[in-house]
């Protein structure tokens, strides 16, 4: 296993006895990234060879305003551990106002989910511009650590 200098999370798995030991849990996080800013920022993080934990899976959307809060609910219903929605900074939206609607919807979604018992640290709504590669890496890093600390998300907690 190679470990690069920047990695703050160890990916080494202990030697696993496939019959008896279960695999180590890793958070699974979905990131909705807008094509013009946050997705481009993530691309730049790649070009710049920054490192961050491999726990995020990206869903590209044209605009953060495309993200229906029901997607987030759907994510948790399916059992994901965390969700990131990242858009352009206010005023910079490629489509002028889409991120303003996201700005209104996401906090509402967070509050509603919190009311339903979801830990608010599992959802992150943030702005990442196309130039902010470092910020993207840092957002992914901190969200992954937060979610890791919370443990796996258990759907229907009363059954757990």
């Amino acid at each position: 296993m190679t470990e690069s200098k920047g990695d703050q999370v160890s990916h080494t798995q202990p030697a696993v006895d496939t019959v008896t030991a279960p695999p180590v849990w890793e958070p699974l996080i979905v990131a909705f990234l807008c094509n013009w800013c946050s997705y481009a920022g993530a691309d730049l993080a790649g070009s710049s060879r920054l490192t961050y934990p491999p726990n995020v899976r990206v869903v590209r959307v044209p605009c953060s305003g495309r993200v229906n809060p029901l997607f987030i609910m759907s994510c948790f219903k399916k059992g994901y551990d965390g969700v990131l929605v990242a858009g352009c900074h206010p005023g910079d939206c490629h489509y002028v106002k889409g991120n303003y609607f996201a700005r209104r919807r996401m906090p509402l979604a967070q509050e509603l989910l919190q009311y339903l018992g979801l830990e608010p640290e599992r959802i992150r709504f943030d702005w990442v511009s196309a130039a902010e590669s470092g910020r993207f890496a840092q957002v992914v890093q901190s969200l992954t650590e937060q979610v890791r600390a919370l443990g796996p998300y258990v759907v229907n907690k009363r059954d757990a």
Binding site: Y39, A40, G46, S47, P54, V58, S74, Y80, Y95
Partner: protein
């Protein structure tokens, strides 16, 4: 049944060093719907693309997934490639396993797992890909320029010069705008009319330009390349073809009215041309002041006109024109300083505005170019100029800086000295903004050679005393209160948008900012466009601007128009929203949130009840495909092609399944 082909790229060692590409390709072969899965060193290369096309033919693939670098790089490459193989170009999905995977992770196991996941998600998305068509939208290759000032004139000349027809609409009886009101322009001290009138005449003689004066745009519909505009040509009451511009009619007219062109400092007649160099040089009858229209008497103009050009019975004419692009160049107004009681404007006749001083200085102005104060027509010997009247004042007027006042105040001080050699100018200022080419040098010249005294401080009060005006202010550099006994005071009033700018802009689909200036598409990178495609901005209607910047922006807008017209046709954006008429209840929340006013209301006949009802309708020419409407729709009646709810949810589903969730 979808037949998906997956192609995992090594990208040399960029991906393959960290991701087991062969393993991912093998894994994808087990995914339902994938009939062919392979890997190659460089998918974007010639042989790589050939491999792709060959596989499409050999395995009868109807959609393709390429796991490689960012789609922001090579999506167009692979779209073109599969189109060459006979597939619709939009039947390809790219999984980003380089920028988002191999380049940011180092552990092979987790990176490979992630690459597999991302490719699997792309396969799920591809399952719901549909062929998308880009339709050709024809372009009407003629332009409308609204506003006949220097901005509109420049834009019209540039567009006409490129060979396209232009309609130039101007509200007042002549083109020329604000610049025609000025005497000299800074910093060159060119005579404004001397540099403007040749351009005005060029417009009039250019066969590609049709000038409509005393006319206004009343309505606009349509979209880029296909606008329909309504223009009201108000009744001039003088025949444009017959009139020779001899001027006898306005010489004989007995009615005098304060002249708008002179800022109220002089008079014009009820039948008038606004200034001697007017284009067209044909007078207009002001029906609100003409004796004939008020009381049915007089008609002296008609009596003295030797060729019978006066037409009292003329009526307004509403034209409907089809154009492909619109340039908005409607200019500015100035702030009325009588709102600031402390300056005494509107109360004391010798407190005038910068524009009014310009008219005094102008040879064809109310005083034939002599600086004479309004109260007694004497030459003022001490003149106080007050800068920032209505500008940089968020509490009482406008928060912004009007950009040109520092320069024209310096110019006025210079003109005053030239015309009244024994005069003395005091300029109360906050800062000196002289940042154009030659501007700083100009101001220094005025200070050093024209004996203008700059006092850094605000004016608190102006009041009359013994036949002159006492100007009380502060000199912050000396730390003292000062008082100047002036013969005349000139207030550098703020530039502000036209009173009807907001309403007019809305008609054209242009938004305004908090100060009612027209909003550009992007303040840095798209300063001459607006968010409505096909509409462009030029000049001070956008923001306070001097003449060089106005001309530059006008030419920039013209270049954009010519760029549009140079295309054979427009291609519609394929990934746009569309409404399901059957489901839509016309709550119109989508219409409210759309940033591009791309959603309208349409009437359909309901298929069940056979009765008419309204639904939302997306204008394919205006929709940019952001999806804000889709997220807003409460009944899932609107979908975004290329980023549908299905495609997104299936990605989430396939990922969850892969992780055993």
């Amino acid at each position: 049944m979808a037949r998906i082909g997956v192609f995992v790229c090594w990208c040399g060692s960029n991906i393959a060093k960290t991701v087991d590409v062969e393993g991912v390709a093998a894994e994808m072969g087990t995914v339902p719907g994938v009939v062919h899965s392979t890997h190659y060193k460089y998918m974007c290369s010639q042989p790589g693309q050939a491999l792709l096309r060959q596989a499409i033919a050999e395995h009868r693939l109807d959609r393709v997934v390429v796991a490689a670098c960012s789609p922001r790089l090579h999506e167009p490459t692979f779209r073109t490639c599969i189109a060459q193989a006979g597939l619709n170009p939009f039947m390809v999905e790219i999984a980003n396993i380089r920028e988002h995977c191999s380049w940011v992770h180092s552990d092979r196991t987790s990176a490979t797992a992630k690459a597999g996941d991302l490719t699997r998600m792309a396969v799920a998305r591809a399952r719901r890909d549909e062929p998308l068509i880009q339709t050709e939208i024809p372009i009407t290759k003629s332009a409308l320029v609204v506003g006949g000032g220097i901005a509109g004139i420049q834009a019209a000349l540039d567009i006409a010069g490129a060979g396209y027809q232009v309609i130039l609409v101007e509200r007042s009886p002549s083109i020329g705008g604000r610049m025609a009101q000025y005497d000299k322009t800074f910093p060159t001290l060119d005579c404004a009319a001397c540099i403007l009138t040749p351009k005005m005449v060029e417009c009039a003689s250019n066969p590609n330009i049709r000038i409509l004066t005393h006319a206004e745009v009343e309505g606009m519909s349509g979209y880029v390349g296909n606008f329909e505009v309504k223009i009201r040509r108000r009744a001039r009451s003088v025949d444009l073809e017959k009139c020779t511009g001899c001027g006898v009619c306005y010489e004989k007219c007995p009615i005098k009215v304060p002249s708008e062109f002179d800022g109220g400092m002089g008079v014009r007649k009820a039948i008038y041309v606004p200034f001697p160099q007017a284009v067209p040089n044909v007078p207009v009858i002001d029906r609100e002041h003409c004796t004939y229209f008020l009381r049915g008497k007089c008609k002296l103009c008609e009596k003295f006109c030797s060729i019978g050009a006066v037409r009292f019975d003329e009526t307004d004419e509403v034209l409907t024109e089809k154009v492909g692009a619109i340039v908005v160049a409607t200019g500015f107004d100035t702030w009325d300083p009588s709102a600031a009681g402390e300056y005494g404007a509107g109360q004391y006749p010798d407190v005038i505005s910068g524009l009014q001083f310009e008219r005094l200085a102008n040879a064809s102005g109310p005083t034939a170019g002599k600086i004479l104060r309004p109260s007694d027509h004497q030459e003022p010997k001490t003149v106080v100029f007050v800068a920032c009247v209505g500008s940089r004042d968020p509490e009482h007027a406008h928060p912004y800086c009007s950009k040109v006042c520092c320069m024209y105040t310096a110019k006025h001080a210079l003109l005053l000295k030239e015309k009244v050699p024994d005069s003395k100018a005091y300029i109360f200022y906050m800062d000196i903004r002289a940042n154009g080419k030659g501007y700083e040098e100009f101001v220094q010249r005025v200070v050093e050679r024209y004996d203008a005294t700059y006092v850094r401080g605000r004016v608190s009060r102006i009041y009359p005393l013994d036949g002159h005006l006492v100007v009380k202010g502060a000199d912050t550099l000396l730390g003292k209160a000062v008082e100047v006994h002036a013969d005349m005071v000139v207030l550098a009033t703020a530039m502000q948008p036209r009173a009807d700018a907001k309403e007019f802009a809305r008609q054209l689909g242009v938004s305004v900012d908090q100060d009612n200036w027209l909003t550009e598409a992007h303040p840095k990178l798209r300063p001459v466009e607006v968010l409505t495609a096909g509409v462009y901005l030029a000049g001070a209607c956008h923001y306070p601007k001097d003449i060089p910047d106005t001309v530059a922006q006008a030419s920039g807008a013209a270049a954009k128009v010519v760029d549009l017209f140079a295309k054979p046709h427009l291609l519609s954006e394929p990934m746009i929203a569309s409404v399901d008429d059957m489901n839509c209840a016309a709550c119109l929340l989508c219409k409210e949130v759309c940033p591009f006013t791309a959603i309208d209301v349409a009437e359909i006949t309901d298929m069940t009840t056979r009765k008419p009802r309204t639904v939302a309708r997306v204008n394919a020419g205006l929709c940019h495909g952001c999806g804000t409407c889709v997220a807003a729709c409460r009944s899932a009646s609107i979908r975004l092609r290329g980023f549908s709810d299905d495609q997104i949810l299936l990605q989430l589903e396939s990922l969850a399944q892969a992780h055993g969730l």
